[in-house]
């Protein structure tokens, strides 16, 4: 598994400095704390967590948009921030991102053709306009914007949300990527559109053998998209549980994962009305500027062990095969 990994995070931390004016004090906001993770070739990993838990930051770290404060990010075994130019170029081409908001992910001043052909020209994939046009039509066809000639010279504002998201997906495919980070790629779309985009991503994964990091706050969507892969649950900048999707859903280990699964409202009246939500000790999420010591879930956790959970950060334990959890309840199991 390790040596077939395409992306590895090795004790990665990221903090941002919050400053108030020239004379104001500086505060450190730790968004990611000591994150280690390995994603295998062709795998689907779903990163699940609530807003502000650091999942988007993790995505940005992996595609190299921001640098970690400490730790290393490895692409095919090499640290991306100590790569030489040529290697870094290859990494850039191989790792792409699909954003959440289809309204801000496409530059409003460019037509679809320009949006999709710019990377093709830049990386020498096409030489002239007719080649580019052909390739762009092919890409549009691949993301089901058919007939492609109806779309190639449109501006983003002339497209619907779902269509824009398809263009964004086509753009991420221009350089034949090996790895795609889909950051809440469907959460802003309508229910009926959402699933068709998910199906498109699933098809692309099969056809092009792309590895996916699927970032979402929606456990149900993660389960559907990543049934054959793994789920990682994130809370306040740390992964608290990671394992094969069916296991995490059917046998959640971490109290936070359990709380989420018991809380999630579902589109089935009988199921959802019979849920017995976990009684948390507190409703408030701690601020990233002022994280609690020990396990960051301890102030809310009903199973909290005084003197342990609020002192030390738990390690990753493996109570079942390939299913890891960071919680003292599983120490030694």
């Amino acid at each position: 598994m390790e040596d077939r990994a395409i992306i590895q995070l090795d004790h990665v931390s990221k903090s941002f400095t919050v400053r108030s004016g020239i004379f104001g004090g500086r505060k450190h906001m730790q968004v990611i704390g000591d994150l280690s993770l390995s994603i295998g070739k062709g795998e689907v990993l779903c990163l699940v967590g609530e807003s502000g838990c650091g999942k988007t930051t993790t995505g940005k770290l992996i595609v190299g948009l921001i640098r970690p404060t400490s730790g290393r990010i490895l692409f095919e075994g090499k640290d991306i921030w100590s790569m030489h130019n040529e290697e870094f170029k290859n990494y850039r081409k191989a790792v792409q991102i699909i954003h959440q908001d289809p309204y801000s992910s496409l530059n409003p001043v460019h037509r679809v053709y320009n949006i999709l052909s710019a990377p093709l020209f830049r990386h020498g994939i096409v030489k002239n306009r007719s080649e580019a046009e052909e390739k762009v039509l092919e890409l549009l066809d691949r993301v089901d914007l058919t007939p492609p000639r109806d779309f190639i010279y449109k501006y983003p504002h002339q497209l619907s949300g779902g269509q824009r998201q398809r263009v964004a997906i086509a753009r991420s495919l221009t350089l034949n990527p090996k790895f795609i980070v889909a950051d809440e790629a469907v959460s802003m779309l309508d229910v009926s559109i959402r699933l068709s985009i998910i199906e498109l991503l699933r098809r692309l994964k099969e056809e092009m053998n792309v590895t996916f990091l699927f970032i979402t706050h929606d456990l149900a969507m993660a389960k559907y998209f990543g049934w054959e892969g793994r789920i990682a649950v994130m809370y306040l900048g740390r992964i608290v549980e990671i394992g094969p999707t069916p296991r995490v859903i059917e046998n959640p280990l971490h109290p936070y994962t359990k709380a989420l699964l018991m809380a999630i409202p579902e589109a089935d009246p009988q199921v959802t009305r019979n849920k017995k939500p976990m009684q948390l000790r507190s409703l408030d999420i701690p601020s990233l500027l002022n994280l609690p010591p020990g396990c960051s879930f301890n102030p809310r956790c009903p199973f909290w062990i005084e003197g342990t959970c609020d002192r030390e950060v738990p390690d990753m334990y493996e109570p079942e095969k390939n299913h890891y959890v960071s919680c003292f309840l599983f120490k030694g199991k």
Partner: protein, 330 residues
Amino acid sequence: MVKEILNIENLFVEYSNIRGKVKAVRGVNLKLYKGENLALIGESGSGKTTLGTAIIRLLPSSGYIKEGRIVYKGNGNEYDISKFNEKDLRQFRWKEIAMVFQSALNSFNPVLKVWDQIYDTAKAHGINNRSFVRERAISLLRYVQLDPERVINSYPHELSGGMRQRVLIAMSLLLEPKILILDEPTTALDILTQRNIIELLRIIKADMGLSMIFISHDLSLAAELADRVAVMYAGAIVELGSVEDIFYRPKHPYTLGLIKAVPTVTAGFRELYSIPGSPPDLINLSPGCKFSPRCEYKISACEKDEPTLVEVGPDHFVACIRHKEINNGR
């Protein structure tokens, strides 16, 4: 016999913009019964929010009620809300029907403390006794599980999103309205906070027996809280029935499609199906069933006349000429 408290009759709402008239709500007939939870489900542009805001006559300035009546039955009388003048409306709003809006974050005036906004509300309805209002506010805030002394003296920006939503819900109960309209009450919140709000709304329903209308794009909210569900598409109700009817015996292809497009967590893995195409343009509507371009059950008759709601079971209505062919997807 359950008593109806609100009766929307043949309501048409339009917006005028540069391109033309947006037909946002088209011929809606809907009753709300005393003590029930009704969910309005639909995607963006389905007219659900327009319908909700039309009930308290708070449409944006470009919108207007073109036709129809909104009859409110309370205090032993009947009133047509669509005929109210500004003064009637002002006294009617919040006292009889309160509304919790989608964006709790922006629902409060940023420069006034929570207390001032609560007292403003009471004063607007003729309650001037400060200590009485304060006591009531404090008990309501406690009821929604907030620390009343701290919250009441806070500015809105000092509260988290979930807290603000709870303050707004507490404030909506201030004048003991008969109807509470909630527009996407949980959409912007985290899952654990969502659950908390849902539980709270359940308690409110049990304690106060008021009628609630939930407006949401999220089927799961309807599954959680609704007694009856109205599914809207392109400005019209396409299916209306009890929550069991809608979720387990849907008779409209759109309802069926929606249910089959939403993944669940608890039940094992199941394949989902997506609805092809996208919603119609509400300015240039074609005749016939508005869903027909996306419908797999479409026959040529679907494109001729728009189907009206017909009763297919006890209190279960559907607007589809092929409802007999549509079988439970589960």
